[in-house]
């Protein structure tokens, strides 16, 4: 959260969708800074708006309100050729490598496509780049002509990663990139992502619901609930000292493999509701054990300790 040179900064970002029941406040007034060469983990349950946030930042959706700055430059409204340039710098890795790859394109064609689109490389250079990328993400050369259905999930995800890093982006939004993989393969892909970050100086936003994964890969973590940021802090700090009641419940819900440590679980009542036409005030209040009258007022994200921001008016009373 240092002031200087955040690679990505968003200010008051909103993304609303109109739906049958009203306006869905999927992303509602979020501020965030992501420093260069760091990973910002974004966690929350399904429907909390974490993927929408990521997709809005990389301009896959047009924001309803707010600003997106890339390297200090406002990219909220850029169009046409300028947007294409922005897209080269901001890439995405999708959750499901099977549905995000074209089933009729081979590994080679898939990786070559973005390079070709950039019109910067000769035919020979293209081949060299494809070789280099396949090597970087660890896809064996014999799979060059294979199609997505012929590969396992881990390899497919590696192809997605190769494609994302093809044009040397600065920022990659990783949208649940390992959720569809088995643990042994998941570990291989996580190691790869971290190695690439070191080698290429990448900045990640890592969206996931898996808290042990996010803890492993992130420098900072933001916790979202129904379109809003409820808490953000450096990873170690967040796992040591959760201040928002939702974060406490979320972290205590992770099943532990330590069979001797008795579970002290903060049980939540009810389920995540929806962000359609929300009332002002804390959206977590209906499920919160500490909710009072004051929680019906709009909440603001406040710095409670250094770099540790919480959006809860009762934070000092309950901690």
């Amino acid at each position: 959260m240092e002031e200087k040179n955040a690679l990505v900064e968003i200010q008051g970002l909103k993304k609303y969708f109109s739906s049958a029941g009203g306006i869905n406040h999927a992303v509602d007034d979020i501020n965030m800074k992501i420093q260069r060469r760091t990973t910002m983990g974004v966690v929350g349950e399904s429907g909390c708006g974490k993927s929408t946030l990521g997709r809005t930042i990389i301009r896959l959706y047009d924001p309803t309100e707010g600003k997106i700055l890339l390297d200090g430059e406002d990219i909220t409204e850029v169009r046409g050729r300028k947007l294409r340039k922005v897209r080269e710098r901001m890439q995405i890795i999708f959750q499901d490598p099977y549905s995000s790859l074209n089933p009729r394109m081979s590994v080679e064609e898939t990786i070559r496509e973005p390079l070709k689109e950039s019109r910067r490389f000769s035919r020979k250079e293209l081949e060299e780049k494809v070789d280099e990328l396949m090597d970087q993400v660890g896809i064996e050369d014999r799979l060059r002509l294979s199609y997505p259905h012929e590969m396992d999930g881990g390899r497919r995800q590696r192809v997605g990663i190769a494609r994302a890093i093809a044009l040397n982006p600065d920022f990659i939004m990783c949208d649940e990139p390992v959720s569809a993989l088995d643990v042994s393969i998941q570990a291989q892909v996580l190691n790869l992502l971290m190695r690439l970050q070191d080698r290429l100086g990448l900045t990640y936003m890592f969206v996931t619901h898996d808290l042990s994964v996010v803890r492993h890969i992130s420098d900072n973590i933001s916790v979202m609930y129904l379109g809003q940021l409820v808490e953000t802090a450096p990873t170690r700090e967040l796992f040591r000292n959760q201040l928002h009641p939702y974060t406490k419940a979320l972290l205590s819900a992770i099943p532990s493999i330590d069979i001797d440590r008795p579970m002290q679980r903060v049980q939540l009542k009810g389920e995540i509701t929806s962000a359609i036409n929300p009332k002002p005030g804390c959206r977590f209040a209906p499920r919160c054990l500490f909710a009072t009258e004051a929680c019906n007022q709009p909440q603001t994200l406040t710095e409670v300790e250094k770099d540790h921001f919480v959006s809860c008016c009762r934070v000092n009373e309950i901690n």
Binding site: V183, S184, Q186, A187, Q188, S252, A253, P255, Q267, L268
Partner: protein, 326 residues
Amino acid sequence: MEQNENFLQVRDLVVEYTSGGQVVHAVNGVSLSLDRGQTLGLVGETGAGKTTIAKAILDILPNPPAKVRSGEILVDGQDILKLSEHEKLKIRGNKIAMIFQDPMTALNPVMSVGEQITEAVLLHNDFTRTQAEARTVEMLEMVGIPGQRYVEFPHQFSGGMKQRVVIAMALACDPELLLADEPTTALDVTIQAQVLEMINDLKTKLNTSMILITHDLGVVAETCDNVAVIYAGKIVEFGTKRDLFKAPAHPYTLGLFDSLPKMDDDSKELHPIPGLPPDPTNLPRGCSFHPRCPRATEACSREGEIPMIELSPGHFCRCIRTGGNN
């Protein structure tokens, strides 16, 4: 693994799928047993054969392509595979119920959830319609869904709520054995915590035996009494939860633990198991895990069955490099 009074006994189960002229060796000689009121966790990666074992127990594998080559499945001493179709119908959903992984596809989208449960209740009990409906409302409320939602359709429920409906349906006929196939995988952690706690409560209340299929070792740690680790259609390690979590022995089990990002460890690099699970149409000779195993020697790839070794009472491991000589 032999004990008396086992409610469920599976002996030497072998299941194959035939696809495009190739034989997929899905389950290769699995034996296990389960007492009343106990929970057994089946752990393993995609394609290890976990779901096939559960479906074989209910005898609901599609044939073709699936074929139970050999083996016995004894429920209360009765071999399910030898029963007539009519007798099997009485067992399925009644004595043995299954919770499927994906609640979205397990429910009928054009029938209210209440009707779906009532249908099952009427089928297996001598109830009048009114009694059956009352039972359904009781079940819905037991899993935390207000009875008024009887008339609602699956799309009106969230994922967690749908999974509760599926659980209510599975428990509606007081099954003696519950087969839960990744019951919480599709759910968020806070909802998962609620559903696991609910399953644990109900199990104690009704003394139901359960087989819990999962790839999540954390879920196993919270719910199971015994654990079987499955690799390429074989049990490679079996023991109590304590055996498995405190003294894991098989190199594959150790590999699974090493692959997990630890909540209390800040090391940067994870230690994945190298390589991929084997092609089930062409399993390696000897131990199926040997191509990925850091401890493998030439002996591990020799033809023939690797025996289960009892490391300590009740803790079994299928590895010639572990145990007695180590």
